[in-house]
């Protein structure tokens, strides 16, 4: 299978504080990988580096087999815009924009024209069970709905990989399950997903699990810990 995203010997320290201590990880097409580990182990830090939001102290990241140049901020922006979709614990929707407009924002940056972008946003929102709520502002939506709008935004430019940092961390169990179902469905359609989670029962439902401790992967790919 083809590797979409790969990190090789990633190290990161902030000040004297080592946060990532040589992590190598690859995400292939169709993967649903979860990353688990205790609080402070470096999960988010790893995702920021893999998602090109932060640069590693040393080590390389490859996207579609091409080495990422962390000094070229324009190409970093481009890759994030086209190839990666982000979902965070909080939705980070822009309060002034409607659900549909929030989804349109990455498309406009991509150069998609507004009418087309709007159609696409409606389609995405309806896929995520938000038909009829396209014109609502974030505050007019429930927590679960907000998070699904955020997922629609992550999918706006049809990225190769979706990265999610505790996407259900702020949701009740019902909404949690709903969001997890969305991810499973997306993955079934072939989209690669990298998900950070605290919850073992969610990690169990993914295809690969990596456990991180003190900035190192300690659990192998097949060694999915049952908790």
């Amino acid at each position: 299978m083809s590797v979409i995203l790969e990190g090789r010997d990633l190290r990161k320290s902030i000040g004297d504080n080592p946060i990532l201590n040589g992590i190598s990880i690859a995400v292939e097409k169709g993967d649903f990988t979860s990353i688990v580990g205790s609080s402070g182990s470096g999960k988010s830090s790893l995702m920021y580096v893999l998602g090109l939001l932060d640069s590693p102290t040393s080590g390389e990241v490859y996207v579609d087999g091409r080495k990422v140049d962390f000094t070229d901020s324009k190409s970093l922006s481009d890759i994030r815009n086209r190839k990666i979709g982000f979902v965070f614990q909080f939705h980070y929707l822009i309060a002034e924009l409607t659900a549909s407009e929030n989804v349109i924002v990455p498309m406009l940056k991509h150069g998609i024209k507004r009418p087309e972008a709007k159609d696409r946003s409606f389609a995405l929102l309806s896929e995520l069970g938000l038909k009829g709520k396209e014109g609502r502002k974030p505050y007019q939506l429930s927590g679960g709905e907000q998070q699904r709008v955020a997922i629609a935004r992550a999918l706006a430019n049809d990225p190769e990989i979706v990265m999610a940092d505790e996407p259900t961390g702020n949701l009740d169990s019902k909404n949690s399950a709903l969001v997890m179902d969305v991810f499973l469905e997306l993955n079934e359609k072939g989209r690669a997903i990298l998900m950070i989670t605290h919850e073992p029962e969610l990690a169990e439902r993914t295809k690969k699990v990596h456990e991180i401790k003190d900035g190192l992967i300690i659990g192998g790919e097949e060694a999915a810990p049952g908790g």
């Binding site: 901020s73 980070y92 507004r114 706006a156």
Partner: protein
């Protein structure tokens, strides 16, 4: 529509109150600039125009009115002139010799519109029980017309009465009021410096709007005044009207050189006023500048707050691929839009305020007298006000926007837990 315009417009129009407040701030600044400039410059231009017209563009005198030591002091320093007590001033030359030659010479000069001789002197006017010190001017009406606009300021247009009835005088309107003279035909008495008494008839009133002139000036026929002052055929002042008032300084210098008499340009005659006007303009400018700065700080403040409030939005925009300069533009554009709309509104308000000021009718009595404000409604104030506002709002929004673009999204994602 580019995504930047789309996002900027959305962010701005969805926060109407903030946008409105900062827009109004700019509008007030611009309106203040436009209306204050119109009032100040209107007053100054009016004053200068009146003063120049009435006092001639260049006045050729026997000598400078300043004290004689001035030149020595200027050349050799303050210590050089001492007062000599008990000395009597020597007989001063007090007439322009050969003035007819000058008249001929300068009438032929293409830069000169007209030139007229004056005999001036101090005297006392008496009417009933009232006495006033006056400055008397003897004129030749035909020549006077070529060099001044005295006709325009006469209530009854009776300048020629000075010729047909040599015992006529024309009084400044304020002087007439002081004396209690309300209509023409009244007899007044002039006391000459040597004590002679002359009874003359008021032929007209002279109302220039410049209080100091209207309060003291009395016009005579040249011959009459020559007789009163006992200066037969003498003239001590020539007034010159030019085609271009801005030439006055240079031509005055030439005339001084050519004639050996002292030629004073209107700029020099009014240098005190011009200096005061300069100060006034500085003060106006500073006030308006302060207003604009305040409204710029309004924009700055709101942009800073917006950027702080919008940290999460900025972080996500960057995460989904917007570049630093695009973030800067999104916020700068908001500031510029506020500035643009504010400036337009300010121009409108400024125009309305000017309309209102122009419609006011009341007596202004000061160094000039008018009914209501004299406004200078030059379009350039609108243009400047507009450009200032745009510049200020750009500058005010640039720093906050730049700061916004430098936010590191990871810091935001980490901290907003």
């Amino acid at each position: 529509m580019s995504p930047i315009v789309f996002i900027a417009l959305k962010l701005l129009t969805e926060r109407k109150r903030q946008a409105l407040v900062s827009t109004l701030g700019v509008a007030i600044g611009v309106a203040a600039f436009i209306s204050m400039s119109a009032v100040m410059n209107g007053f100054q231009l009016y004053f200068i125009r009146q003063a120049i017209d009435i006092n001639a563009h260049i006045t050729l005198r026997v000598q400078e009115e300043d004290d004689e030591g001035r030149i020595l002091r200027a050349a050799y320093g303050d210590g050089v002139v001492a007062d000599v007590l008990g000395s009597r001033p020597k007989e001063l030359k007090d007439k322009i010799i050969g003035y007819n030659n000058f008249l001929r010479q300068y009438t032929a000069d293409p830069r000169v519109m007209g030139i007229a001789p004056h005999l001036t002197g101090e005297g006392i006017i008496n009417y009933g029980t009232k006495d006033r010190g006056v400055s008397m001017i003897g004129v030749d009406p035909a020549l006077e017309r070529t060099a001044s606009v005295v006709d325009d300021y006469l209530e009854h247009k009776n300048l020629d009465k000075l010729v047909t009835d040599r015992n006529s005088v024309i009084l400044g309107s304020e002087l007439a009021r002081d004396l209690g003279i309300k209509e023409i035909g009244k007899k007044i008495t002039i006391v000459s410096p040597t004590g002679g008494l002359y009874t003359l008839e008021v032929a007209d009133f002279f109302d220039s709007g410049i209080t100091s002139i209207d309060k003291t000036r009395v016009y005579f026929n040249m011959r009459t005044l020559q007789a009163i002052l006992d200066k037969p055929n003498q003239v001590n002042e020539l007034i010159v009207k030019l085609h271009d008032v801005d030439d006055a300084e240079n031509i005055a210098l030439e005339m001084s050189r050519d004639t050996g008499y002292y030629a004073e340009s209107w700029q020099r005659a009014f240098r005190n006023f011009l200096q005061i006007f300069k100060m006034q303009n500085m003060i106006t400018f500073m006030i308006v500048f302060a207003i604009l700065i305040v409204s710029a700080f309004g924009i700055f403040n709101i942009m800073m707050m917006t950027v702080l409030e919008k940290k999460k939005d900025i972080a996500i925009l960057k995460a989904i691929g917007y570049e630093d300069r695009e973030i800067t533009r999104i916020f700068v554009l908001q500031g510029i839009l506020v500035g643009f709309v504010g400036a337009l509104l300010g121009c409108l308000f400024g125009y309305l305020i000017q309309e209102w000021l122009a419609s006011l009718q009341f007596d202004i009595v000061g160094i000039i007298r008018t009914k209501g404000f004299v406004l200078d409604r030059s379009p350039s104030y609108f243009v400047y006000g507009f450009l200032f506002a745009m510049l200020f709002s750009f500058l005010a929004s640039f720093y906050p926007s730049w700061r916004a673009s430098k936010l590191f999204p990871v810091d935001i994602f980490r901290s907003s837990v």
